[in-house]
Each structure stands twice: as structure tokens, then as C-alpha cells.
């Protein structure tokens, strides 16, 4: 179904080339993983001004740690893990709450104006925005980036069972949120 931990053959060549001093090759790695890193950072960090710094920091960290990369996971998963950790560290430093309201449903009274728009994309984006950053990240990694449970578990440092359980709750909340919006609009 989903691609598992199969390492692309080109990854080793890319990494070795950079380690031999060919800096420019790192640009290819950035291109390949930019989407994933942006997804994680955007879903985790609400302040758009800080996102730029965090994305750059993620790649600097990845570049500095490249000699230690041991190919135990895919390169993209490894960089995704760095991105997730960088976001968590940032949130902790800023004393922002990361895993709030895991058990309770999110508040739904802030975006009343959005609710009247009929476009599914807008409703979906609004509902995703109402999830906690943890759930948001899980949802986009699984359903948009099409990563396996195992890869997500590696990125987020969570047991695979916990990933499945959180994903179940996140999907349920998302589905109920969207259905609630449609019902309201129908009334």
C-alpha cells in the first residue's frame, strides 16, 4: 500500500557526494524534502514570521549532522524528524502548548465567517486548523504526504500504536467537524 522503509539507491550517492565536499548536491536534498519540511513546520508553528527561520534551521541542522546519518531510515524521514524536533524545541522555548486538548474537541466558535463558505477546501482547511498541532501534523503526514505509520512514528518519536490511535481520533474529529459545518449550512 504505502512505501515503507526502502532506501532510495540515490540517497547514499547524494550523501557521500556531500561528504566529499560537493556542497551543491545538498540543493537536491532540499528540493526533495522541502514539501515535507514545510508541511511539518506550517502545521506546527502558527506564527508565519518564525517559519522561515525554522525551515532554514532544519536544513542547517541536517547538513551539520549529515556525517552521522546512518541510513537506518529514509533520508526524508530523518529530515522530517529533525523538522519535527526543531518545531517542538521552538515551542518549548517559547513556552507554547504543543499537545493541548488531546482529549477534548476543539473550540469551534472562532471562525464563524468561514463556516458560511461552501467550498470544501476552505471548510477542510478551517477544520484542520482547529485540530491540535500534533493531530494536524499526523493528518497531513499520513493523508497528504502519504507516509507509512512506521515513518510517521520515526519522525514524531511516537510508538506506532500511538500514531494509529491519535490518527483515529484526529480523523474522527475532522469528519465530525466537517459534517457539523455542512449541517449548519443546510439549516
Amino acid at each position: 500500500m504505502r512505501p515503507n522503509n526502502e532506501k532510495k539507491p540515490a540517497e547514499a550517492d547524494l550523501v557521500n557526494s556531500i561528504l566529499q565536499g560537493n556542497k551543491a548536491v545538498f540543493g537536491i536534498i532540499i528540493k526533495n524534502t522541502e514539501g515535507l519540511v514545510t508541511q511539518i513546520v506550517v502545521r506546527m508553528i502558527s506564527n508565519p514570521e518564525d517559519r522561515k527561520d525554522i525551515i532554514q534551521e532544519v536544513y542547517f541542522k541536517a547538513y551539520r549532522s549529515l556525517p552521522d546519518f546512518s541510513f537506518r531510515s529514509k533520508l526524508s524521514t530523518w529530515i522530517g524528524h529533525i523538522a519535527y524536533n526543531t518545531c517542538v524545541n521552538y515551542l518549548e522555548k517559547k513556552k507554547l502548548v504543543l499537545r493541548d486538548d488531546l482529549e477534548e474537541g476543539p473550540a469551534r466558535d472562532e471562525t464563524e465567517e468561514v463556516l458560511f463558505k461552501k467550498e470544501l477546501g476552505v471548510i477542510l482547511a478551517a477544520e484542520i486548523g482547529k485540530l491540535t498541532s500534533l493531530y494536524r501534523t499526523l493528518i497531513v503526514l499520513y493523508h497528504q504526504e502519504e507516509m507509512s505509520y512506521a515513518d510517521i512514528a520515526q519522525i514524531m518519536d511516537l510508538p506506532e500504536g500511538t500514531v494509529k490511535s491519535y490518527l483515529f481520533r484526529a480523523r474522527k474529529m475532522l469528519k465530525e467537524g466537517i459534517l457539523a459545518q455542512y449541517k449548519k449550512e443546510e439549516l
Partner: protein, 290 residues
């Protein structure tokens, strides 16, 4: 009468991957309109998620990162733990070999008793070939150290030969079976010692790297001197294909031209020589392509 529907988790699981659901769940959903609607809601959600716009960075990530990319640092963490590990492994390997040889000393010294000279030679030629090959590799890498070792060995051999010559005025070149067996045993032991020496080599490489870093050698230089072995994988594989392939062909030919005799030695020697030659041509063509 109340109808028992499948759970929300099973509904989700069905929507994510129908094939991983139990047959009962699949059958129920196929027959139950209520559950099928729930599944369709999830399928609708998943499809909407897949088609939703992905966030895009508001700046050119590649340009911004590449412009400020620092010089790649060489790993500078302490190797103390790894050093200790290598020491322990090397000590354990040497100690086990020593204890084993001591415990089995009678068997070890008598290991070639039942074999003919030719049979022992047939075994020894590939072993010697591998040892020579490996020593040549090390010679290239540790030229200066190896020169000193070779010089010391030659002086020692010369001294011992002179002493032996004093005891044996005849100085016959004839190889006695006993000394030949001793030589065979020593060569076999040295073959195992080569394996142990690999651990020492690992240790030396790490120590050189540490020294270079401590002395403040530029990162680029350290990287060039001590490249990880990954890039030589192809060469190493070809080398072992040549060694083992030529040895194997030699054995097959020796088997074909029975009985064992002087021709067997010739076959083994020529096979291994052809292996060397093939490897030489491979290296030369690789150099040319570079």
C-alpha cells in the same frame, strides 16, 4: 431488536485499507446502509485531504539555505567509548585465540599430520594468496610502518638463518616435512591473526582522525585523508570476486585433473595469478576512467 453495527475504528480501518479488515466487518458494511454511509463520509474526507492544497514556503528555501550553508564539519565527538570497545574486542579476540591454541596445542600442531605435502600445499596456496593480497593493500596505506616491519623481519630472518647455518654445516635446501608442517601451522594462524588485525586497523584510523582534528587540520583535508570506506565498496567486491573466483576455478580444475600432484600446484598458482591479473586490469581501467 437492536442492530449491532461495526465500531467507528473498524469503519475507519475499512476506509483506510479494506483488505486489512476482518471478513465479518467487510460483510456487514456491504450489507448495512448506515455503516456504508459512514465509510463514504470517511472516503470523502480522505479524498478531500489528498486533493487539498499543500502549504508552500513563502521564500526560496534552496536559495536561502545554500547561500548561508556553513562548511561541513567533520565529526568531532569523542571516540573514547569506541576506542575502549575496539581495545576490548581486540583483547578478547587475541586472548581467545591464545587460550584456544594452548588448550588444543596437540591437535593444532598435529593438524596437518594426516595430509600429504601436496594436499597441504593446495590449501596453503590460496591462503598465502589472500594474505599477500591483504598485506599489499596495507602496504599501500601504511607504507612507512610496513617498510620498518619488513626490514626488521629480514634482519631477524637473516640472523636466524646464520644461526641455523652454523648448526647445519651441510646447508641443504631440502625442505623437511616437520619444518614444513610448522610453517603451515604458522601461516594458518597468521591468517586468523589478519582478521584480528582488522580491529587494530579500525582503532588506528580513528586515532589518526582524532589526532588530525586535535591538531586543527582543515576539515577538507581530514575528509580527504580518511574518506569513509563506502566509496571503495565496488573495488573491494571486485577484489574478492577475483580472489575467491580464481581460487574456486583452481580447485575445480585440480579436481578435474586428478590425482593430486605437482600439476595441482601449477593449476592453483596459475589460477590465482590469473585472478591477480584480472584485478590489475580492473584497477587500471578504473584509473583510466577517472
Amino acid at each position: 431488536m437492536s442492530i449491532s453495527h461495526v465500531s467507528e475504528m473498524e469503519i475507519q480501518q475499512y476506509a483506510v485499507d479494506k483488505t486489512s479488515c476482518e471478513a465479518g466487518v467487510v460483510e456487514h458494511i456491504a450489507a448495512c446502509d448506515v455503516c456504508r454511509v459512514k465509510v463514504e463520509n470517511y472516503l470523502f474526507l480522505f479524498s478531500a485531504l489528498k486533493e487539498a492544497d499543500r502549504p508552500v514556503a513563502e521564500f526560496d528555501v534552496e536559495d536561502a539555505v545554500m547561500a548561508a550553508l556553513p562548511s561541513l564539519p567533520v565529526r568531532k565527538e569523542s571516540f573514547a567509548l569506541r576506542d575502549r570497545f575496539v581495545y576490548v574486542i581486540a583483547f578478547a579476540a587475541f586472548a581467545s585465540l591464545g587460550v584456544l591454541v594452548w588448550l588444543l596445542r596437540r591437535d593444532v600442531f598435529g593438524v596437518f599430520d594426516g595430509l600429504t605435502v601436496v594436499a597441504v600445499l593446495v590449501l596453503l596456496i590460496p591462503v598465502t594468496g589472500i594474505l599477500v593480497w591483504q598485506c599489499y593493500d596495507w602496504y599501500k596505506k601504511y607504507k612507512n610502518i610496513m617498510k620498518k616491519i619488513a626490514l626488521t623481519t629480514m634482519v631477524l630472518i637473516g640472523f636466524l638463518s646464520a644461526k641455523a647455518g652454523d648448526n647445519d654445516p651441510g646447508r641443504d635446501i631440502e625442505i623437511k616435512w616437520e619444518s614444513f608442517r610448522l610453517f603451515s601451522m604458522l601461516l594458518t594462524c597468521s591468517f586468523f591473526a589478519v582478521v584480528i588485525l582488522y580491529f587494530i586497523k579500525m582503532l588506528l584510523d580513528d586515532r589518526i582522525r582524532n589526532k588530525l582534528i586535535e591538531k586543527g587540520a582543515p576539515d577538507e583535508l581530514v575528509r580527504q585523508l580518511l574518506q569513509p570506506p563506502v566509496k571503495d565498496t565496488k573495488t573491494v567486491i571486485v577484489k574478492w570476486i577475483c580472489i575467491l573466483g580464481s581460487g574456486g576455478i583452481g580447485f575445480l580444475l585440480a579436481e578435474h585433473f586428478q590425482p593430486l600432484g605437482i600439476q595441482t600446484l601449477a593449476i592453483m598458482s596459475v589460477s590465482i595469478a590469473v585472478g591477480f591479473l584480472a584485478y590489475f586490469f580492473f584497477l587500471r581501467s578504473t584509473e583510466k576512467n577517472k
